[in-house]
Symmetry: C3
Subunit: 206 residues, 3 copies
């Protein structure tokens, strides 16, 4: 039951990430195939990268076909109904924050289980959460938005670091929910209050 | 004899893909080293990515030096004789379609042999066929052409899916030729008839 | 003692590479997080890629936290003091040449130890030296500078090839210093004398 719940959470996160990939594809006027690939890479790229780096091959995303079908179907739906989906940008941003929280915590725990120390596990948790979006932006030939426009990675790293500490210390399982909560709430506050990360000294935010 | 034949086919596909990488380098006015790297990555990138994802390391391309020498020499020749090679664009497109057919089938079979299910194997077959070209375009700082301008991936996925089914069901070996044929013919028809994939609803093809 | 010395050399190379990543981030007006990620990927990307390709997972950079802390701290320092660091471009280029020499030799030796032949090991040594910078430029949405503007990879390949031969033949350990020296001196001569690699026939250097 608990495993089912985790799988559902994971697939929801993948679907939301995939929808952001498909929306970027629509805005760049890519064809339906471009939307499918961008959606799948955005949804799965971070987890696949983590699995490669800890030697968990084939990656989970290739062993259970639901991990391939969910982002593919999501991307196709977003492609065909993009005027409707595009109007739901606020809702997607909220769901995306939830996906961020799930991915950073799940990634950090999986990396720590694979034997990495707390700091390295937190870095891999961060990579799980942001890797897919970075690949999406590189394939769309643009500088990743999280490098400049969005406070996105700091909440993910905070959640991942807390989760790695919880796993290392064997704290009760409720602490994982707290780690997810830290990332999600911080990200949502950044969105609603317009928080951004510091620019280089001497630079004006255009 | 049959293994030799397969190796030759594989090296021909790698050489053709490498020549497209070197031509992109020439058009971007990169230097001879840029042409060598773009050629090698275009020729070998898809197969290396597949091998990483199924845990077949070191990848085949690093174990047999012919896999490194063929795309390097091809890229150098294209670089120095690019005015001549550039005029052979039609012939290169036909050979490229053949490379696409070989790679998607070989990639799907190798992934299925590694224990992936039919659908995941087909996805990896597709990735084998298009991964190198995607890396080429990312390194040339442009959105991959197969995301927008070319009907390229759908034939590759069809061929890969058929090959994975053939391998799964143990059908006679001639079916692999059929899978290659599906991808090649579909791709050539797309080229000669100008078939393209659907754009997002509401978008005009510029 | 010797191992400590090698570790120090390796960390110095990583720090210098990381500082080039952070400087690119500052010039692109990325935020502090973008500078950290670009710095870490530039410093560690080549070695991580090599480790993935020879199956040495988790990569060394994730097993010893010093490999994560050094480029992160370097990138943060460069970000905050970029006007000062930016004026040290000449010194950074010299240190970068030293990093290039260390990385190409260390990478080739590690790849040859993993069982690759001399030529493949040299290619991986090259990849170790240039992989991080290529990732930096891709993430900054530009064509890698080493594909066009800088004679950078040829010295690295020469050093890597010599190192792989030395390892293969079991020559005395001083030869590794010679391999580093070949790469460093060649690179510095290219910098000071403006040597560049050939462009495609018929192309003017703009």
């Amino acid at each position: 039951m608990s495993t089912t719940w985790l799988l559902v959470l994971d697939l929801v996160g993948i679907a939301v990430f995939a929808s952001t990939g498909a929306l970027v594809a629509v805005r760049k006027e890519l064809d339906v195939f471009g939307a499918l690939v961008l959606g799948m890479i955005t949804g799965l790229g971070g987890g696949v990268l983590r699995d490669l780096l800890i030697g968990a091959v084939p990656p989970a995303a290739l062993v259970d076909s639901r991990y391939l079908v969910v982002p593919a179907v999501t991307a196709a739906v977003v492609f065909w109904f993009h005027p409707t989906v595009g109007r739901m940008e606020k809702q997607i941003e909220v769901l995306d924050a939830v996906g961020l929280g799930i991915f950073c915590v799940a990634g950090a725990v999986k990396a720590h289980e694979a034997g990495l120390d707390v700091f390295a596990a937190a870095v891999l948790g961060l990579l799980t959460a942001i890797g897919g979006g970075m690949m999406r932006d590189v394939l769309a030939a643009r500088v990743p938005v999280i490098f400049r426009e969005e406070l996105y990675a700091t909440p993910a790293f905070a959640g991942a670091l807390l989760a790695a500490i919880v796993h290392d210390q064997g704290w009760p399982v409720g602490w994982y929910a707290a780690a997810v909560g830290v990332a999600v709430v911080w990200r949502l506050l950044a969105l609603t209050r317009g928080w951004v990360a510091p620019l280089p000294p001497g630079t004006d935010r255009g």
